[in-house]
Amino acid sequence: MAGKTLYDKLWDAHVVRCDDDGTCLIYIDRHLVHEVTSPQAFEGLRLAGRKPWRIDSVLATPDHNVPTTGQSAGVEGIADPIARIQVATLEQNVREFGITFFPMNDVRQGIVHVVGPEEGATLPGMTVVCGDSHTSTHGAFGALAHGIGTSEVEHVLATQCLVQKKMKNMLVSVDGQVGPSVTAKDIVLAIIGRIGTAGGTGHAIEFGGEAIRALSVEGRMTVCNMAIEAGARAGMVAVDEKTIDYFQGRPYAPKGELWDQAVAAWRELVSDADASFDTVVRIDAASIQPQVTWGTSPEMVVGISDTVPDPAREPDEVKADGMRRALEYMGLDANMAITDIPVDIVFIGSCTNSRIEDLREAAVVAKGRKVAATVKQALVVPGSGLVKKQAEQEGLDKIFIEAGFEWREPGCSMCLAMNADRLEPGERCASTSNRNFEGRQGQGGRTHLVSPSMAAAAAIKGHFTDVRELK
């Protein structure tokens, strides 16, 4: 019999039952909750008189709506009344149902995908869900992590299960080594550029190969975070010693004898050598240069030394049309050099790139330099209160502030601009987030996705620049 992929193993370990047509109930080990996609689910439970199946599996924190200044004032300090109601509703719901909760002024609060692993609340081998598509992030530890909709949030709360059919297996192997200053973000953008935003649809993607193994677990989180941008609901990386070391001593991780037992099981969380994948994509790591998106979809991406693509050279008419529309929205001309594109705003943050290593990477570039006078605002938003604290202990906040960046409090912030941090129409942003859709960072705003060091370099120069030339 052929071996199993990592996804096969995770799937098999969680099947509760299946119908003949392959529709299965999958057991969920960890359910993360935030304020935006949960109110209607809790309301649904209440209306049906149902109780959460296993409250100890649920962990909640507000992130999308929270302001990134003055958080110590708590919910009452949220200026936007509608956002305040939403965060307050989450607080009422967790209280009513007895769910573990990190409120706004708790040092453990932050973006749910940063908080879960940081607390050891998401672990290898788990099934993890959250009403948020970037739940794929948690796959970085050899977990099966899905983003779900609100009906499914309610379903998991009520039954601890998700109704699913098994997806196909896809391996994206990034072979060889990346060059200097090429980061996890560049790797994943290059993957999306290659396979497209629908390339992984219907698949669970395992990221493998030497370049993925060489990444830190935080880098692997960046890669898995954007699996959804390649169309895959779940992305994952096999467990290795780095994964295991990461969880040592985390608050919710097992201790003592249970730890040893868990570690033994975690070591099995790799694809067998003879496992077969439905789709295999190989990418040569050495060919990846620092990436910059130029359009309104993450697949519209090129290397920093490239030019903006020309729709006139695209044979597929529908695609060329999309490119023209994107160029118009982005206010760019075909064939211009990426390094000639000026930026107004720089955003370093989001569940893609707001962990301590991301901040360190940006700080290396910012250190001893100044944000260009033409840049209106440069924000650094740590992913959680604990990341913020750690960064401050390392003096990163001072480096950023001295360079002219604003040092903010944790949350999703300008990644989706549900709080006050947003682009004005026409403003152009170098952003470390994951989506460059029209209006994502504010109506009419123009987003270019980059790595933290590339964002910092753009802030310093006032336009996109090859970070390798800065160092």
């Binding site: 509760v16 039952r17 047509d21 529709t23 109930l25 057991y27 080990d29 935006v36 996609t37 209607q40 309301e43 199946w53 100890d56 709506n65 936007d80 509608i82 109601i85 939403q86 509703t89 081998g125 788990m126 009403g131 948020d132 598509s133 739940t135 983003g147 779900i148 909709g149 609100t150 009906s151 499914e152 309610e154 379903h155 009520a158 039954t159 601890q160 059919k165 935003t197 629908a198 649809t201 959804i228 169309g231 609901r233 919710y252 097992p254 249970l258 730890w259 037992q261 868990a262 529908v318 999309g322 529309r325 989706l416 549900m418 989506r435 859709f437 029209e438 209006g439 994502r440 109506q443």
Partner: protein, 212 residues
């Protein structure tokens, strides 16, 4: 959830691929704690010329006459025809809520993003997959004749064009069953309480650290 069996309705053509959930319902409307009322803000940034915020009186806003859904001939459309990878982006169920509230009960496209596709079924929307050539043909027909209607029959899994051409489509048997009967997933799953409990007992013995 409302049942869906069949309908004959006007088709609105949204000729774009990769329409994302931020476009279907911009984030400022996600602050609502309700499930309904999103219809007037579906495609807000394309539909109106001004910037929309929750609580605005949408009837007073300036509409974008160029946006397809604002054209008089597509008023009252209940079927949305669009291009590939529709609904990509976030998991927000506000996207299907907004489409449904607007009046769309059927979507036809060559492909969808997974989470969105799934969310449609949970809300009584039927997302139909047709190959690119058929979708292209429908686009041509819709644009060519005002008042163009399609008939969609879920039981028979067939779309019928005004000229009588039948186009068959696939749909997952379980999802079809739920949609035809307006069934609530949770109720169905709770019929398997014993299986869930048995799984938990077994798993607790195998991997006790997951139950701490």
């Amino acid at each position: 959830m409302e049942k869906f069996e069949k309908m004959t309705a006007i088709v609105a053509p949204l000729d774009r691929s990769n329409v994302d959930t931020d476009a279907i319902i911009p984030k400022q409307f996600l602050k609502s704690i309700q499930r309904s009322g999103f219809g007037p803000n579906a495609f807000d940034e394309w539909r109106y010329l001004d910037h929309g915020e929750p609580g605005m009186d949408n009837s007073q806003r300036q509409v974008n006459p160029d946006f397809v859904l604002n054209q008089p001939r597509y008023q009252g459309a209940n079927i949305l025809l669009t291009r590939k990878n529709f609904g990509c982006g976030s998991s927000r169920e506000h996207a299907p809520w907004a489409l449904l509230d607007y009046g769309f009960k059927v979507i036809i496209a060559p492909s969808y993003a997974d989470i969105f596709f799934n969310n449609c079924f949970k809300n009584g929307i039927l997302p139909i997959v047709l190959d690119e050539a058929k979708v292209e043909q429908l686009f041509k027909e819709v644009v060519a004749s005002e008042g163009y209607q399609l008939s969609v029959d879920l039981t028979a899994q067939v779309i019928t064009t005004p000229s009588g051409e039948a186009m068959a489509f696939e749909v997952d048997a379980f999802r079809k069953h739920c949609l035809l009967n307006g069934l609530d997933d949770i109720g169905l799953t709770l019929q398997h309480v014993d299986a869930i409990k048995a799984y938990e007992a077994r798993r607790k013995a195998e991997a006790p650290w997951l139950f701490n």
